[in-house]
């Protein structure tokens, strides 16, 4: 059992004890699923850098702390204040409040009940796993499956076109180090259209927060889903997320992921399975990585049927001792003829100490496809910088303009001006003082 040493971290041992104590609480269909998932996690342990998918991202430094599994309480007044502060300014939107993984319908403003069904996932575990039986051998997903509590199940009714986006406000509270494992399911039924904007607030007293979240989304025939994810975290946050999307025939899915400087660890897995022909998929990402932070985006687009289009643009800006990983896999099966798959990843290093690992990965088994990928790593163009400065624009503002320009391919595609404004203001607030010359 020598290999056990690799992952028998304090947290691993704690989790084993916790499951044995309370994990078997649930009953019914879910019990076996949880047990199996737990056994898988127990056998595999936390991922290590020996695994190809985790080669550049070591979880080890983040597993040595003790974590609690229970959230802190929050009084109603504070909660209302937090909600008010979390809304995207000037955006006309519905909103769903989720406190420590538990939905708060009475504090939310939601579309009419015939348009959207909202339930706690806790009571609908069988629903939750319907169509997601095959979770593969991902240890972090298995861990979530074994332990998740609460979570939401959100279903958009057939033919419903939501008139406004839905902002999902995730609020976490912690008084001590805490591990959260939220689980969510979104179903957009035939011919329906919806937009989700996910934001997160963490209220804590200098405690560590580890979030291991799993989301499963189904976009049914001719349906459209746009998902915006704003990851605006604090230093003490460690985020591992797994987002799986199933797209059915003629559906469209757009994902925007904004990783702002803050969390010491962000690891996103975004996987899209194209389970029908004539689908359209857009994955757009921005990652801004601050000092001693690690942001890792793993994406996978799985083309299984003919005539599907996928388009991916991920752009990274790295500061100081920041480290980023981009791994973009596009898998085109033999049956998936007439596939158009484009991928682009650009990185702007604002410091000599920043590091980026970029790995475009195209696996193509069909012979009549258009697929391409491009990847760049660079610094500011000195000529552009001089041009702006020669017009009276300060060095700092010039750098800011050039960073804005670099991100433009992604930001221009945000449809709501208020949301665009919000994301950009967060970026600039977080990057304040980062535009000065770094030697």
């Amino acid at each position: 059992m020598a290999m056990l040493n690799e992952f028998t971290t304090p947290l691993y041992n704690q989790l084993i004890a916790e499951f044995e104590k309370s994990g078997a609480d649930t009953s019914g269909d879910i019990l076996d699923i949880r047990k199996n998932a737990f056994e898988l996690f127990k056998a595999k342990g936390f991922p290590t850098t020996k695994e190809e998918d985790w080669k550049f991202t070591s979880l080890k430094p983040f597993l040595n702390d003790d974590y609690s599994f229970n959230a802190a309480d929050l009084d109603a007044d504070s909660l209302n204040t937090v909600i008010a502060q979390s809304l995207v300014p000037d955006l006309d939107a519905y909103y769903l409040v989720v406190l420590n993984g538990v939905i708060q319908p009475e504090l939310s403003v939601l579309p009419a009940k015939d348009q959207v069904t909202l339930q706690s996932l806790h009571n609908n575990e069988a629903v939750a796993f319907n169509g997601f039986k095959n979770i593969g051998d991902n240890a972090m997903v298995a861990l979530n499956t074994a332990f998740f509590k609460g979570g939401y199940y959100l279903e958009v009714s057939k033919n419903t076109v939501l008139d406004k986006p839905v902002q999902i406000i995730n609020i976490y509270t912690a008084k001590e180090n805490i591990l959260f494992q939220p689980r969510n399911v979104v179903v957009v039924n035939q011919h329906a259209q919806a937009e989700l904007i996910e934001t997160t607030v963490v209220l804590k007293e200098s405690a560590l927060l580890f979030v291991n979240s799993v989301s499963q989304l189904i976009v049914k025939e001719n349906a459209q889903l746009k998902q915006y994810k704003v990851q605006n975290n604090d230093t003490n946050n460690r985020i591992v997320s797994y987002n799986h999307i199933n797209q059915e025939r003629s559906s469209r899915y757009d994902n925007f992921t904004f990783c702002l400087p803050g969390a010491e660890l962000i690891r996103n897995n975004l996987e899209v399975t194209l389970n029908g022909s004539a689908t359209e998929t857009h994955l757009l990402g921005l990652y801004l990585v601050g000092d001693h932070q690690l942001t890792d985006n793993h994406t996978l687009i799985h083309h299984k049927f003919p005539n599907c289009d996928s388009n991916e643009i991920y752009k990274g800006v790295l500061l100081k001792n920041g480290k980023a990983v981009f791994n973009g896999k596009v898998f085109v099966e033999r049956e998936a003829q007439k596939t158009n798959a484009f991928q682009q990843n650009n990185n702007l290093l604002l410091s000599n100490n920043a590091t980026v690992f970029a790995k475009p990965q195209l696996e193509i088994y069909a012979d009549d496809v258009k697929c391409s990928h491009g990847c760049t790593v660079g610094q500011f163009d000195p000529e552009s910088l001089f041009y702006l400065r020669s017009r009276g624009i300060s060095e700092e503002s010039s750098r800011k303009l050039l960073v804005e320009a670099f991100m433009f391919d992604v930001t221009e595609k945000i449809e709501h001006d208020a949301l665009k404004e919000y994301v950009q203001s967060l970026i600039y607030a977080k990057m304040e003082n980062s535009f000065l010359s770094v030697v």
């Binding site: 400065r389 020669s390 320009a405 991100m407 391919d409």
Partner: protein
């Protein structure tokens, strides 16, 4: 207005400017001519503050202020404008946003009130008309999709917007056809006043038929080897640069 004294500058350890002396007064237009590699564009770059040049000796003063102590943006705010020989395309930076930022920083420095959006647009329109620059600027990235001629005209338009004291035009005429040259020249002539000055860097006498200079200087091997009036440009056109090169190499002319 501009006073250059014994200016020496290196790039990558190689001496390019070897003692330039030049006085430019308000209201004047100076042309600087010279063969390729004589240091014309280097002089423009050093005056604007391009960072890969190292000034090893000499002084540059603009209305009593030490230009060499200033960052490029400070020079611009004090009224130095360089029209680039090769204007840069910057995808993602909008023309309008760029101009607004530049103008607002310059106006702040000059203690002028900020322009409202309406005033800014009005000014943009006026100056576009003045320099006959019809290109659509809204929703377009800086210089992106502009032809070579449009880029040069955009430089003159920016000059009109920012209203500098001293404009240095680095081969603004190169790559322009005769119509574009006339338009650019007309624009510059309209911008000339008793309060500003122009330094035209050019390889050809052609430009000087449209913008008549008060003085012509010939730069060769990092030094001004001859200065005169517009007739000097005609003489050069006739005799070519070899004539001056020979004179200089034989006699080592010093001003």
């Amino acid at each position: 207005m501009l006073s250059i004294k014994n200016l020496h500058a290196n790039i990558e350890g190689k001496e390019i400017l070897k003692g330039i002396n030049l006085e430019v007064n308000a209201g004047e237009v100076h042309a600087i001519m010279g063969p390729n590699g004589s240091g014309k564009s280097s002089l423009a770059s050093v005056l604007a503050g391009r960072e890969n040049y190292e000034v090893t000796e000499g002084e540059v003063w603009l209305d009593g202020k030490n230009v060499l102590d200033m960052k490029p943006e400070e020079r611009a705010r004090e009224g130095v404008f360089l029209a680039f020989q090769y204007p840069v395309e910057i995808p993602g930076v909008s023309n309008i946003n760029f101009l607004r930022t530049a103008l607002s920083e310059i106006r702040t420095h000059r203690n002028l009130p900020a322009l409202s959006a309406k005033e800014f647009l009005k000014l943009t329109k006026e100056k576009q008309q003045l320099v006959e620059f019809e290109a659509k600027l809204a929703n377009r990235s800086l210089n992106q999709g502009f032809s070579g001629g449009e880029k040069k005209r955009n430089e003159v338009f920016q000059l009109a917007m920012l209203d500098p004291k001293l404009s240095i035009l680095d081969e603004t005429d190169s790559g322009l056809d005769i119509d574009a040259l006339r338009i650019v020249s007309n624009g510059i002539n309209k911008l000339r006043s008793a309060d500003n000055a122009f330094v035209l860097i050019t390889h050809y006498q052609r430009l000087l038929e449209y913008i008549v200079p008060d003085f012509v200087h010939v730069l060769y091997n990092g030094q001004i080897v001859r200065s005169g009036t517009k007739e000097l440009a005609l003489e050069l056109e006739e005799k070519g640069y070899d004539w001056l090169k020979e004179l200089h190499d034989n006699e080592s002319i010093n001003k």
